[in-house]
Subunit: 113 residues, 2 copies
DNA sequence: AATATTGGTTACCAAAAGGTAACTGCTATA
DNA sequence: TATAGCAGTTACCTTTTGGTAACCAATATT
């Protein structure tokens, strides 16, 4: 009798993949934290994260906006000012990130003992 | 006054990255679950996950062994039998995966409302 | 005797992610 | 008038990740 990854498992995995898509990658969490810390202007965020470039930042910000983690607001001052702010919803990621963090901290102990 | 991602944040991020390295990627969690479910032989695991190939499986298994999520045991039967089993430690990932899962489930509701 | 199964490895490719640097039109400052 | 800042965009390149298919030496099955 052949074993399989049950269908229940597979479907339970979709949301796991979704979450990983939202937070994995080299910069996403970094950018989110930068905005949580109060950085709001494009160049400000860019400068706050060493080695992050405009191209990547622009792409990630679009992504994060789609996922409703941040809001992009255009203020029609002269010149136009654009501000990125974290949504209340984005804060729901804190718990997830904390879990990842805690596991990672312990994992180092496990690996380097 | 220029804002920066504080050093504390940066260093707190290393463990988050570590964890993501261990669990992200297209197959890792799938393979872990397959082994949790009782699949132990190489071909058995391979067959249990549609589209997974030997090459990728071999690589991921090595990775997971390094991270002490699984154990590779060689039984000197004729012919040699090799078994992969999940470590007790691997179970500590369940909580993390659950967090990712729960957030993902809710995220779908948020996005498609 | 021929074919399948075991646990992989190898060489070659394709796609995705990320990096580099130049450039845009606009405004503000020196 | 020259330079710098703003919020990006564009073309091109490299690295990482994953996929394809063939192959190995052994044993087991038909």
């Amino acid at each position: 009798m052949k074993k399989k990854v049950h269908k229940e498992c597979m479907s339970a995995l979709t949301p796991v993949r979704d979450t990983l898509d939202v937070i994995s990658g080299k910069w996403k969490i970094l950018i989110l934290i930068s905005i949580w810390e109060g950085n709001s202007r494009f160049r400000e965020i860019e400068r706050s994260i060493p080695k992050l470039t405009s191209k990547v930042l622009a792409k990630e910000l679009k992504d994060m906006e789609e996922h409703q983690l941040i809001k992009r607001t255009v203020y029609d001052d002269y010149p136009v000012r654009i501000e990125y702010t974290a949504t209340t919803y984005s804060r729901s990621l804190e718990k997830v990130i904390k879990e990842l963090h805690d596991w990672g901290v312990n994992h180092r102990k496990v690996i380097f003992r």
